[in-house]
Amino acid sequence: MGIVMKLVNWWLLRGFQKKNKLMFDEKLNCILCNDCRNISFPPKDYCDKCQSSNVSQLLLGPIGKLMSYTISYIAPLVGNVKVPYPYGVARFFNEEGGFIDVLGLIDSKAPFNDIEIDKDIHLLRSRMYLKFKMEGNQ
């Protein structure tokens, strides 16, 4: 990775982490609207759906369900991601049955046979892009 991209990544992470704390350990840092019960991610001081400011912190995960996935053969310019890489949508539930769907990288090795839709995934600690691994994988 060139020096320019390293600087870009450093600058991104610095600004990004200052603005949003996405995770606490292996849990997603979400907000729950106390008026409409909608879950929003990343955290903010209002509800995405009803615009209410009556929100509270909600930590979800680390176990979720993989809703879908695909594989990319083109790397993003930012973030040190090597091709080919699988990514997917994971669903994290709260106790009320509410949920949030988020996109993230899947920690797996080619040919990615361990990835299966509707199976449990485990949220991993990550900084820029969210990262999951299939539950049961070491």
């Binding site: 991610f41 993003p76 930012v78 839709i117």
Partner: protein
């Protein structure tokens, strides 16, 4: 509101035109549309140009066509730009502000990155924006449009048992319709095997299951009722124009539903029809940007139950001789997808089909299916979806069998 009709159409063939300027492609389409509408340049009162990346090209095209001086509005809404331009022109006439309005859709994409086309920003800027706002689910960064539809395809396969062959069959149908369409980028038929063996882009989508980035232009002349009746016997009356916007994260929670359900029901209500009325009465040009998207649109537009899209396709309902021919032109998968031009090209297809123009002789929709038509485009302008639908009728008051 006043009645509005689509009267004249012109298309500059979609494909690779790296040696051509915007104004050359645009002029060709506009001149053809003006001639087709049987009007003089000076009668055009206003112009809307749908283009995602062509900043300032409207003026160049109008100058080349001798139209400088009329109001000119550029419309940018990614893949939906052309359809939005049609909608604004329709509104201007319906509200009584103008009687004859020109709509141009144009894009040059072969030599440009998607970032440049999508709102004039380069890719690195878009990716930085994505990460800073945790919009990893956007055009660039982790996932592009192909990735999003690949996720939708895998989910549809898991939930409804859709097969790779079902997806490939969309491309086979598209290519079959496009044979002989000289405005299409791809005009050769393909087999299911060829589709599945093509280069893999994002599993399960192979290259030919993704619409090509193309260069191209299309133009349409819209008129008020009085003027349309003066200039043609075969107008395509616009009976509904609807649009919606949404944020892309809304659709992560249901990957197999695009933002088309609400907007299509609004359109049906506006036109005074139901989804089922299209069977044996109509045809449609829909936004088949990827093979899976055509199947999802069958379901979201209300033409079949959720999960029944592949069955509708496999039963031949959407073939040219089926009850509801879909994408007689070959759609985006075969014609190509110059973002701003697509929505306008779809309307040119409706005009040609409804009047049984010799240009579509090889792909003419059966007479029974020419009573009504629907055009549908869906854009993904970086962080959200925007969807536009127009419904057309051959008669001023919709007549159904």
């Amino acid at each position: 509101m006043r009645n509005v009709a689509a009267v004249g159409a012109g298309v500059f063939p979609f494909g690779r035109h790296t040696d051509m300027l915007y104004q050359e492609m645009g002029r060709s389409a506009v001149k053809e549309a003006i001639k087709d509408a049987n009007i003089d340049n000076k009668e055009i009162q206003s112009c809307y140009i749908g283009t995602a990346g062509g900043a300032g090209v409207g003026h160049e095209i109008l100058k080349e066509c001798g139209l400088i001086g009329i109001p000119l509005t550029r419309v940018e809404n990614a893949c939906n730009s052309g359809s939005n331009a049609i909608r604004l022109a329709w509104m201007e006439i319906a509200l009584g502000l103008s009687d004859i309005v020109l709509v141009v859709g144009i894009e040059k994409m072969k030599d440009y990155s998607m970032g440049i086309v999508s709102g004039g920003q380069n890719r690195i800027v878009l990716e930085i924006k994505a990460v800073r706002y945790f919009s990893q689910i956007m055009n660039f960064g982790l996932m592009g449009p192909t990735g999003y539809f690949a996720l939708a395809a895998h989910r549809h396969m898991k939930e409804f048992g859709t097969s790779k062959e079902d997806l490939a069959r969309v491309v086979v149908k598209s290519r079959k319709n496009a044979v002989g369409n000289t405005d299409a980028e791809y005009q050769k038929s393909m087999t299911i095997d060829e589709v599945l063996k093509d280069k893999m882009i994002n599993p399960p989508l192979t290259r030919c299951q993704c619409t090509p980035k193309s260069d191209g232009a299309a133009a349409v002349i819209l008129m008020s009722e009085d003027f349309a009746k003066k200039h043609t016997d075969t107008p395509a009356w616009i009976k509904a124009s609807t649009m919606t916007s949404s944020y892309i994260t809304d659709y992560l929670s249901d990957l197999t539903a695009m933002p088309n359900i609400k907007v299509s029901r609004q359109a049906y209500k506006m036109a005074g029809i139901e989804a089922k009325d299209f069977y044996k009465n109509g045809f449609a040009e829909i936004h088949d940007c990827f093979s899976i998207s055509e199947i999802l649109h069958y379901e979201d537009l209300g033409w079949c139950d959720k999960g029944q899209g592949p069955k509708m396709l496999n039963d031949g309902v959407t073939e040219m001789d089926g009850d509801l021919p879909i994408n007689p032109s070959g759609g985006l998968l075969s014609c190509g997808h110059p973002l701003g031009a697509t929505g306008v090209r779809q309307v040119t297809e409706v005009i040609y089909q409804m009047r049984k123009d010799k240009k579509v002789a090889k792909r003419q929709v059966p007479d029974d299916n020419l009573n009504i038509a629907l055009t549908h485009t869906m854009g993904q302008p970086v962080l959200g979806f925007t969807s536009g639908i127009h419904i057309f009728s051959r008669d001023l008051d919709i007549k159904l069998k």
